[in-house]
Amino acid sequence: MRVHKPPLPLTPAVFHILLALVDTERHGYGIMQEVAVLTDGALRLGPGTLYGTLKRLVAAGIVEESEERPEPGNDDVRRRYYRLTDSGHNVAEAEARRLENLVHIAHDKRLLRSNEG
């Protein structure tokens, strides 16, 4: 199956959703909560943005529905869980490296000062 990867740079919503799914599978509300925690509440995804983005990520083969449930006994069986595919890991890693490079450039240009000293 041909997979369409989103071009870099990713939108903030996409990258944060991928980050939320890097370590474990989550359901929609779980992704929202994780994104809010990761950004200190600065980015709050609404249901429309979240599921619209998930739809595109699933179609692109970056995210897939997961049968595994982190807490099987303590969960609503109607919820759908999502996880990153291998391709999704690669896309998230590529975007993280791109951002890392940008931070290096910002340091080199003395926009950011190192915490040391």
């Binding site: 509300y29 609404g46 943005t49 619209g52």
Partner: protein, 177 residues
């Protein structure tokens, strides 16, 4: 017991879901409802402020995502219909300005735009006529009870069918369409 605010909010949210395209609603409607219920429960402790905060975010989110999802499923014809409606509304807006008294220009614009769209898609000529010409009559019917404004439909339909006729003569449609 379920708080009344949550019940009403869920009702409104379910109604808003109808704005999304059906395939999207079928795939994600239940999950979106469940997620919105979770969000409501999380905000309920803040009372009215929580509801206002959540609804402000939700309305912005729904507006943006409906446009995005609708845009994805829109084909060329739907976009043309949207454009025709926008043109019709724009002509109606100009025509309804208090200082505007040049009916000839309004009629000319309606005729021209309808003819162009009729030429682009001849099989939908009646749709172009209606979507461009209906707004001036509606406006006049509501605000001035002027039934004579329904005459604005005439140049709209005449234009659309002239455009369609010209297109059909110049370039006959393929037999499979």
């Amino acid at each position: 017991m379920i708080p009344r605010g949550r019940e009403a909010s869920m009702l409104v949210f379910r109604a808003l879901l109808w704005m999304y395209p059906q395939p999207f609603r079928d795939s994600y409607g239940k999950e979106m409802t469940q997620t919105f219920r979770d969000l409501l429960q999380a905000e309920e402790h803040a009372g009215a402020v929580g509801y206002i905060r959540l609804w402000t975010r939700t309305i912005v989110d729904v507006a943006g995502s409906v446009i995005r999802e609708r845009g994805e499923v829109m084909n060329g014809r739907s976009l043309l219909l949207l454009g025709a409606t926008a043109m019709g509304l724009a002509i109606c807006w100009v025509d309804s300005r208090p200082g505007w008294d040049d009916t000839g220009i309004s009629v000319g614009c309606i005729l021209l735009v309808s003819a162009l769209l009729g030429a682009v898609s001849p099989k939908r000529a009646w749709q172009w006529g209606l979507s461009i010409g209906i707004w001036i009559p509606l406006y006049n019917l509501i605000w001035t009870h002027n039934y004579g404004a329904f005459l604005a439909l005439v140049p709209a339909f005449v234009g659309a069918y002239i455009g369609a006729g010209v297109r059909t003569v110049v370039q006959p449609p393929p037999s499979r369409v």
